[in-house]
């Protein structure tokens, strides 16, 4: 399929070739018809660009010796790339930044193929798709859960992993009473770590259509709703004094080592964090991964979803090489495995760290695409109402209320969010 697709695209680009000044040598192919020329790859991994990625480029060149791969790595990836996307110059291969709406995908990115076709080969082809066309493939697929220290759980006398919020709070109480560990570490100061909670709306709902249903409700934060359940747990952990003493000065980098050596017992994080924490642990087998503590009639679910999606710039002057890199990266590079995720290809190997989930019989939930005509509604309501489902803002507010820095209750915050949601929904949906 891939080869056919590449051939089609190559043919197409050659047909267009005359539009690009400079001709065949610098872009497209060398004189003997091989994929050739320079490409620029944008990445958010500033930390890996000179090591792992340089190695990837070398391996890629064993297959495509005539392509020169240049990387541009940036922190604050989405913010910077979004500014750059106001011009044509945003690399040849890039991760689709946050905030591109489905109808806009075709303006900026090369179509990769019909979603139905892509689904036979790749995971999550619907996450960056519009009207049956896929524009990006995830670099990795992550599961969501809670990283915990097994030794501390044993020392606290916890024998069964809790599967209710109340049970989880009791476990934390036991940790507080029987060990020296900080029961839960919020990582509030980092900001982004708080957004790791948002995925668990699907863990609680256990329903792949739940997120799409948000476009049809005026009160997603009402008591009993998944969002309420998820964030109530966050609030209770802090309000009951089960988190670190001062959330405002948390340090993510050292928290990884501290969870590994048992100074911290639990953190809500995606599966990508597991290898990083294991690498810093005194004993890597102490690092465990548990699903979000909630069950529907005994069935525990874990939200899973694609990381950033890799895509090709529609203005790229070297699409054959860009596409070659994209497919090689998602199929051959081993990036997902390296970063603790599931490879984005059908039938990829589930990493060891997630084997525990499989053993527990956890039901993996990944979101279905929005029904035709409703693409991007939820994101649009979120944006219009300045809710920030994937932003740290209201989570920080919940934690501040929990440690007493705000004079508002949890229910007031939820009511406030509902009000904003309702108003925005009235604007966005017909």
């Amino acid at each position: 399929m891939k080869k056919v697709l590449t051939a089609v695209v190559v043919f197409f680009v050659l047909g267009m070739g005359s539009l690009f000044a400079g001709g065949g040598d610098e872009a497209g192919r060398s004189s003997d018809g091989r994929v050739a020329g320079p490409i620029t790859v944008l990445t958010n991994r500033t930390d890996l660009v000179d090591t792992l990625f340089a190695d990837y480029a070398r391996r890629f060149n064993q297959i495509y010796p005539d392509v020169q791969v240049n990387f541009e790595a940036m922190t604050d990836y989405s913010g910077i790339v979004k500014i750059r996307m106001n011009t044509k110059d945003y690399g040849d291969v890039l991760l689709i930044p946050d905030g591109v709406t489905p109808p806009q995908l075709g303006d900026f990115f090369e179509p990769l193929g019909p979603t139905a076709e892509m689904a036979k080969k790749y995971l999550m082809p619907t996450e960056q798709a519009y009207q049956g066309t896929t524009y990006g493939i995830p670099v990795s697929v992550n599961a969501n859960g809670i990283v915990y220290n097994k030794r501390i759980f044993r020392e606290a006398g916890i024998t069964e992993l809790p599967n209710t919020p109340e049970g989880f709070l009791e476990a934390l109480e036991a940790i507080k009473a029987n060990t020296d560990a900080i029961p839960y570490y919020t990582n509030y100061a980092s900001g982004w770590a708080l957004t790791q909670w948002e995925a668990h709306r699907s863990s609680v709902a256990g329903d792949p259509d739940f997120v799409n249903s948000l476009a049809h409700t005026d009160a997603p934060f009402a008591p009993g709703e998944p969002h309420y359940i998820v964030y109530k747990l966050m609030y209770d952990i802090v309000a009951r004094g089960l988190a670190e003493a001062d959330p405002t000065t948390t340090d993510w980098e050292s928290s990884k080592a501290r969870l590994g050596n048992g100074e911290i017992a639990t953190m809500v994080l995606g599966s990508w964090a597991i290898p990083q924490i294991q690498a810093l642990a005194d004993d890597p087998s102490d690092v465990g991964y548990m699903p979000f503590p909630y069950n529907n009639n005994g069935i525990v679910s874990a939200a899973s979803g694609g990381d950033y999606k890799l895509a090709v710039n529609i203005h790229s002057k070297n699409k054959p090489a860009a596409l070659a890199w994209l497919y090689w990266f998602v199929e051959e590079s081993g990036f997902a495995k390296e970063t603790g995720g599931i490879p984005p290809v059908v039938g990829g190997e589930v990493p060891e760290s997630l084997q525990a989930f499989a053993d527990l019989g956890v039901n993996f939930v990944s979101n279905n695409p929005a029904p035709a005509g409703e693409e991007g509604w939820v994101d649009e309501i979120d944006r219009e109402g300045e809710i920030g489902l994937w932003e740290p803002n209201f989570k920080a507010r919940i934690i501040e209320a929990a440690f007493g820095a705000r004079n508002e209750t949890f229910d007031q915050i939820m009511a406030d969010l509902n009000e904003d949601w309702k108003a925005a929904r009235a604007v966005v949906t017909p």
């Binding site: 000179d50 910077i80 500014i83 011009t87 990083q276």
Partner: protein
């Protein structure tokens, strides 16, 4: 040199008063200065400690805990090689040299005209420069980016150079302050000898402006040197990386290696410090009128 005479005189004057309050004030002054120095240094010393710790040591020890091995230069090695700081210094050097030279010349030219001539719209020009500083730069990024791109400067060294070269109100004011203290009789006597304004500017004003130029260089230089947003946004090509971007090599989306960043901060600060120490006597030398007498 004249100034030193003043110090001597005034010191003699105050001691000859011979009362204990003078000593008290003197003691108090030193106490305050020492406190200020301590407050300035304490937070920085912590960075030095952090830069000498191993990752494990950093993760597990407090800020004020001394590093176990004062010769652990591993973080420095990593910061320098992985952060590609040699290239960073090279690029920063080139960009700074050109943009600062331009900024000083343009700033001095503008200040000379504004200080020596009366012309309609003079206040407006000053207002425009002030106006420019009133807009927080963060808020106009998208518009600026479009302009840089339209000029074909995106991902070129020129983008940084031109963005840094713009004259700011602070430089103009420092020059103005200085020009105002240069007596107009200097210009006038040169004019009597038939020198053109351009000659006056080049031969008389510019050399005398030296201390002000140094001050402007330091202030603007620090701004350019520590600015990371501009190279990030406008010059993402690895071959154009600057020193400030090296810090971010160790800050990924999933973590920051603070001990290496600390080392990078120290490395990045050393040249600044050296230059500052070398030049500071020029900054403060003040203006001697020996040349005129």
């Amino acid at each position: 040199m004249v100034r030193n005479a003043v110090y001597r005189k005034s010191r003699v004057a105050s001691i000859s008063q011979g009362d204990s309050t003078a000593y008290l004030i003197r003691g108090l002054s030193y106490a305050l200065l020492i406190m200020a120095a301590f407050a300035a240094l304490l937070p920085i010393v912590v960075v030095l400690f952090a830069s000498l710790k191993t990752p494990a040591e950093y993760a597990q020890s407090g800020a004020l805990v001394l590093p176990q091995n004062w010769l652990n230069l591993e973080n420095y090695r990593r910061a320098f090689t992985e952060g590609n700081m040699l290239l960073g210094f090279l690029n920063t050097g080139i960009t700074m040299a050109i943009s600062l030279f331009g900024a000083v010349v343009l700033g001095a030219m503008a200040a000379y005209v504004l200080s020596r001539f009366a012309f309609p719209g003079k206040r407006l020009v000053l207002m425009l420069f002030l106006f420019a500083t009133l807009v927080p730069g963060v808020t106009t990024q998208v518009a600026t980016f479009k302009i840089v791109n339209a000029l074909g400067l995106y991902n070129t060294r020129m983008a940084g150079i031109l963005l840094f070269m713009g004259t700011d109100i602070i430089s103009i004011y420092i020059f103005l302050q200085f020009l105002d203290s240069l007596p107009v009789s200097l210009d006038e006597s040169a004019m009597l000898e038939g020198a053109s304004y351009l000659t006056i500017f080049r031969r008389i004003i510019m050399p005398l402006l030296k201390p002000a130029i140094t001050t402007v260089l330091i202030i603007k230089g620090v701004g350019v040197y520590n600015n990371f947003y501009t190279p990030f946004l406008y010059m993402p090509k690895p071959s154009l990386h600057m020193v400030s971007t090296a810090l971010f090599k160790f800050q990924g989306p999933y973590g920051s290696q603070w001990e290496v960043i600390s080392a990078a901060v120290i490395i990045a600060t050393i040249p600044t410090l050296l230059i500052f120490i070398t030049l500071q006597k020029y900054i403060y030398n003040g203006f001697t009128q020996g040349a005129i007498k």
